[in-house]
Symmetry: C2
Subunit: 418 residues, 2 copies
């Protein structure tokens, strides 16, 4: 079989498995997840051995140590995967939920029923735990999955996949409900994202290069997460203590995440009061500050911010700071530079909070809270398959519900249209 | 300005206008819609004159009379457009609705706020009333619109657009909130569907050729409506009277609509009882019947159905009929041939109804009701911009809500992530 035929076969199998999954009872899906968790427990030595092969190959290829660390599995990371599966078991099943069933003047009842999307293709880089996470979320939401991981963890992914398939067959579900593409041929991705007959949505998880390639070439709808250039705006009516606590947390609680603040905007009326003590805290934590001229006039020893900084997702202990005239100017800056991921205002002023909530066009908009809260667990979604910066279908953290759709149902008793 | 620059300018203007519309109060949007309705009333003579030009050109080009009829405006069709606008005024404004605002264990409140999509591009063929309908639905849901109609009604569309722009400016909204592409250069469509910086979603309305071209070339998400190959299945536990009434209505109430039944499936246990009287009614109405061998054994003077028939949207008084063993066989036929638009089961049997509702994967699934009900007005959406056969974002009739998205909002009081 050539690559095209292989991919078509994977697609057909996924489409068939999706029909079985769509009508699988919750109990059965949960039993499959538990069986997968147990297989991961039992086969943890095989997982570590497969991962060791990948790490060895990575070292030979000269991958840097930060990347190798991301690729590595160990007992605690395997335990984390298993814990993740059990959390998904505990989530309510979204499938079949009927909402808004109402009588219409004609006498028919019309409502919506939540249904799976069908076949979800996930293309991801590096961390092998995504294999288990993504498969579990798709399984719980009644979707078949086609996974394509990075070539640098191919052995780890195959070992995890074999646990998943063992769990599926143990409860009588088709093993093709979760398929891992085994070839490392890059052309397989090109095929996958164009098989609109067999794939209902593609979720790319990875760097900007991957996501741009997928968006550009896909003929299947894409739920994408580009990047997070998140802003915090300290309004001139902010409470100083809250402002310092929240702005410090938004930058320093973790540097490498997409919901980390990259730019701090400060109203000029409060800058002299809030910036010096805040800057001291940042600098004590080793955060490099880059400021606009007005910021530099208030703070010593900081770099000058450039236009490029406003557009940069640092994912590092670096923060851009701009002093702005007022709320209007802050929202204009956000509108120009934000990646529409997450923005927060710190204020005690009712009407500024209300305007910020209504007018800022990002997937999460916050008042007096750290941008670091923008996350599926913190939002109560249970787990997330990604954070969408799209506007269509799902915005923000995408959990089980984001992997579903709603069809209309109509109940009558011989009703005809006049 | 070349075409590329023209389209970029239209895009930029739409993006700017979208910001104003997103925060426009309901009252203002309704006043604009009323002003548009009045402009259409006042300028009805100009509309008719512009339309006469299009019809004249159409005749010269040799367009057939059915098409010319679809393109034609008259007093009653203009009144219909105006009535449509007033119905949209009466609908509740979806924008700003906050749902599911709940406290999380961390102390933050998390909910969702309904927001416009931003800029909607609509590409449509023939009927000029779409210009007013589509612009009104987008305006009410806070979206800016870029409209590209068929070249055969360009004068009519421009006349309607000038009424829309008069209405917008009368209430102080930017006239660029609704823009009609004036060039008939086909390359303009290619530009529009690739301007992901300025366009958030594309809705193509028209024939299969248009929709396939748009889907294939777009770099912007598409909400598409392909075609309607709708099925009615008469179960062996059907009530004969209801079955005859519903199946007759689903085919004959209107022939040219996408929710018209194209294939009738009948359980073999009930075929001899239900098909002869039903066929008599169809034949009296002039419907040509095409049957499988088992159907032909029951009915006289009907054609033999071919595999191609199962895949054909007739939009005409033609019906394919197949006798199937049971529910399972009916659902297998639907799964193979349906366009996933609308399917209905006629049965008094609880468990068959339940299985059909759960397992049939179409945008509308019905029990004991005519497929002709699959429509935004009948469902209570007020009006529809189309019927989506996609699974992502919106399935089935797309009304105001389908033109919106939801962002997360987070309310705290100095909350930080531990």
């Amino acid at each position: 079989m050539n690559l095209h035929e292989q991919m078509q076969q994977i697609g057909k199998q996924a489409r068939e498995a999706a029909k079985v999954l769509a009508r699988a009872r919750s109990n059965l899906k949960n039993e499959a997840l538990e069986a997968i968790a147990q297989a991961l427990e039992q086969q943890h030595e095989q997982l570590l051995a497969a991962n060791a092969k990948d790490l060895e190959a990575g070292k030979t290829k000269g991958l840097d140590s930060a990347l190798l660390d991301r690729l590595a599995l160990n007992e605690s990371r395997i335990a984390g995967m298993i814990e993740g599966l059990r959390q998904i078991i505990a989530l309510p099943d979204p499938i079949g939920e009927i909402s808004n069933l109402k009588y219409r003047p004609s006498g028919i009842q019309v409502g919506k029923m939540r249904v799976p999307l069908g076949v979800v293709g996930i293309i991801y880089e590096s961390r092998p735990n995504v294999t288990a996470d993504a498969a579990a979320l798709c399984l719980k939401s009644g979707n078949a999955t086609i996974l394509r991981g990075g070539s640098e963890v191919i052995h780890s992914n195959q070992a995890i996949a074999s646990c998943i398939q063992a769990g599926l067959t143990a409860v009588g579900l088709p093993s093709t409900a979760v398929q891992v593409i085994e070839t490392t041929d890059r052309a397989a991705v090109g095929k996958l994202i164009r098989m609109s007959k067999y794939v209902d949505v593609i979720i790319p998880r990875g760097g900007k290069g991957l996501i741009e390639r997928v968006t550009d070439e896909a003929r299947v709808p894409v739920i994408k997460h580009l990047h997070g250039i998140c802003h915090t705006y300290i309004d001139d009516k902010a409470n100083i203590e809250k402002a310092i606590a929240v702005a410090y947390n938004a930058k320093t609680q973790r540097y490498g995440t997409c919901n980390t603040m990259e730019t701090l905007l400060v109203a000029e009326g409060i800058a002299a009061e809030v910036l010096p003590p805040l800057a001291e805290k940042y600098q004590a934590a080793g955060v490099e500050l880059r400021g606009c001229p007005a910021t530099k006039a208030l703070l010593n020893n900081i770099k000058t911010v450039t236009n490029e900084d406003w557009e940069t997702e640092y994912l590092a202990p670096i923060l851009s700071i701009r002093i702005v005239a007022d709320l209007e100017a802050a929202m204009a800056h956000i509108s120009e530079y934000s990646s529409q991921h997450t923005e927060s205002i710190i204020t005690e002023d009712w009407s500024s909070a209300r305007r910020f909530l209504n007018e800022v066009d990002s997937s999460s908009v916050m008042v007096n809270a750290s941008t670091r809260f923008a996350d599926g667990f913190e939002y109560g979604l249970g787990a997330e398959i990604g954070i969408s910066t799209d506007k269509i279908h799902a915005r923000g953290p995408v959990g089980l519900e984001g992997l579903t759709s709603q069809k209309f149902i109509v109940l009558g008793d011989g009703h005809i249209r006049e």
